[in-house]
Amino acid sequence: MGARRRVREVRPTDGPLLEVEDLRTYFETRRGLVKAVDGVSFELIAGRTLAIVGESGSGKTVLSRSVMGLLPQRNVTREGRVRFAGLDLVGAPEHELRELWGDQIAMVFQDPVTSLNPVVRIGRQITESLRHHVGMSRSEARAAATALLRSVGIAEPEQRLRWYPHQFSGGMCQRIVIASAIACGPQLLLADEPTTGLDVTVAAQILDLLQRLQHERQMSMILVSHDLGLVAGRSDDIIVMYAGKVVEKAPTATLLSDTRMPYTEALLRSAPRLTDGSHRRLPTIPGAPPDPSDYPAGCRFASRCAYAQPRCAEEEPPLRPGAVPEHTYACWYPVGTPHGAEALELNRAGGAVG
């Protein structure tokens, strides 16, 4: 990919590629202080995929942007610690972050069609970060872009470079967005609901593509999604978020087999399964997430939880370890424990749950 003249050489570290510790991201709005991300911690080992799952409004998109530092310039507070490859990202001025953005950390956004500038040829949109970060010449960048387009599965890449975004379908646009995101060979790729507006088959292709690229390029990836079923087969670890907090975190297999948090259970149940009958009504989670500017005391999921007991509304459950040390969850009456079964039984008897 040509000689690289990077402004900042990121040194490889032995520890995790990304360490997030007690990250908080608050927005000042007219309605009050919106606590979109409210104390989130996690680690990401190089080469692995982490999925962040939650309903819309749970703060997962803000979390992914906050990790990167890609936030509005005003009325935002971002506190805590984000260490990426040994660099501290919180408190770093934006011009320093910019050297990492697009180069070491890249992002794929939700809507591929609106993420591409409609009046700029895709060739330039793909090559601009190469020219900016790597300092490639025009022809070098064009050659690189051709290779990138080919690697994301776009035929006749030389000609397509001259096309405008509206000449491509949504799925093709997302491939282009991905190509431009991975152009500089980032170590970390954040994909924020990369398949939302796409057909199911196209969505699967895009996720497969991301997975393949991740293996080929040995990237780490954070995959944000509202669909636990979609990320289940494509991630090493999963974080479940609710109301700005991590409520359960585990290696994917553990999370699916040994679910502890009632919210995770509810998310799993609301996904359709092949084994279900054709007209089976899917269980939904009653109610709506709490107002992010005014969280209730105690567990934030309590009001919608089938297991909730009086204690849940008073005391906030801390994250505690499960059966394996990598598994943590925040619940007083966890699923699959005698405590939890008892609480559920109690609620059923009281008629609170049907």
């Binding site: 990167m68 890609l70 011009h95 972050l97 910019r98 050297e99 990492l100 953005w101 697009g102 180069d103 890249a106 992002m107 956004f109 939700q110 809507d111 609106t114 993420s115 591409l116 500038n117 409609p118 009046v119 700029v120 601009e128 970060s129 900016h132 970060h133 405008y164 509206h166 967005v177 431009s180 995101a181």
Partner: protein, 316 residues
């Protein structure tokens, strides 16, 4: 295909414009021939009447006139009888320069102002510049012009005032641009306000777009994002108005030429109207209308260049 239709519509409009112009300017009170001949005898009047097709029906006269127009025969001014084409050729560079110069000034001022305002929307600079634009839009250029003269020519004496000698742009560009600065600024003030408002509003909308966030995520600098990604999609309204602005600019040029005693098309037209010099009024009107329609066609064309989708049209 669409372009062809536009051109066709333009031609039809042009023809009708010519017809209307001729209609208005040929049925003037007072026989044209009599005005030309003045105290000369009936022989002169007969001669001129035949020459000008005055004894023919309206449409015959009109087509005769149109035919002459196509061959570049614009006729003679009333007094002294000079070929109108000579007068116009001498006058048009001033007007054209005024218009182009003013737009350069307007763009140079308005784009940075709008960008900065949009970037820090609703903060001090933005509020002040937006209010200033609003006020400026209520300031007709026949007020702006004299005020500029008062401040920059009379009081501060930074620039030459009215009736200054304008050297040719080609022989002495520095002096020419210096002398033409205040007249052009007179026209530019209104344009700055219009462009600032439109660009700022569109720019604020554009900056909310996902592709701007994506450009940020690529690590591009703010300046690069603004100029490479945000500017072009934010110019649609401005372009649309730009076409109509040209009409306002022609009007503004008439005013500015009067304020600064410049000898452009505007002063030719005002003098002709005051002297009831119909052939000249006809000629200037037609030329201005042609220019105006051509500019609008050009802008339609530019529009498709700027917006590759071509579906936003000019009515976004």
């Amino acid at each position: 295909m669409v372009a062809l239709r536009r051109v066709g519509e333009g031609l039809v409009t042009l023809f009708l414009v010519a017809l209307v112009t001729y209609f208005f300017t040929s049925k003037m009170p007072g026989n044209e021939a009599a005005v030309i001949c003045g105290p000369s005898g009936p022989a002169c009047i007969r001669h001129e009447t035949a020459l000008l097709y005055l004894n023919h029906p309206f449409f015959a006269r009109f087509f005769h006139w149109l035919g002459e127009l196509f061959q570049g025969h614009l006729g003679l001014t009333l007094a002294p009888p000079i070929p109108i084409s000579t007068v116009l050729l001498a006058a048009y560079p001033i007007t054209l320069e005024l218009i182009i110069y003013s737009q350069v000034i307007a763009i140079v001022v308005a784009i940075p102002a709008a960008m900065y305002g949009a970037l820090r929307a609703n903060r001090m600079f933005d509020k002040v510049s937006t209010a200033a634009s609003f006020a400026t839009l209520s300031l007709p250029n026949f007020i702006v012009g004299p005020l500029l003269v008062l401040i920059f020519a009379v009081k501060l004496a930074w620039f030459p005032g009215p009736a200054s000698n304008v050297p040719s742009l080609w022989s002495d560009p520095g002096q020419n641009l210096y002398v033409m600065f205040l007249p052009s600024l007179t026209l530019a003030v209104g344009s700055i306000a219009v462009y600032q408002r439109l660009l700022r509003a569109d720019m604020i909308a554009t900056l909310e777009e996902d592709y701007i966030l994506m450009a940020r995520a690529k690590g591009l600098s703010t300046a690069r994002i603004l100029f490479r990604h945000a500017l072009r999609p934010s110019t649609f309204s401005t372009m649309t108005v730009g076409g109509v602005q040209i009409g306002g600019l022609i009007a503004g040029a008439i005013i500015a030429e009067t304020v600064f005693s410049l000898h452009g098309l505007g002063s030719v037209l005002t003098a002709a109207v005051a002297a009831k010099d119909l052939p000249t009024v006809q000629a200037v009107t037609i030329i201005v209308a042609v220019f105006y329609i051509l500019c609008n066609l050009l802008i339609d064309f530019l529009y498709t260049l700027i917006d590759p989708r071509g579906r936003r049209g000019r009515r976004a």
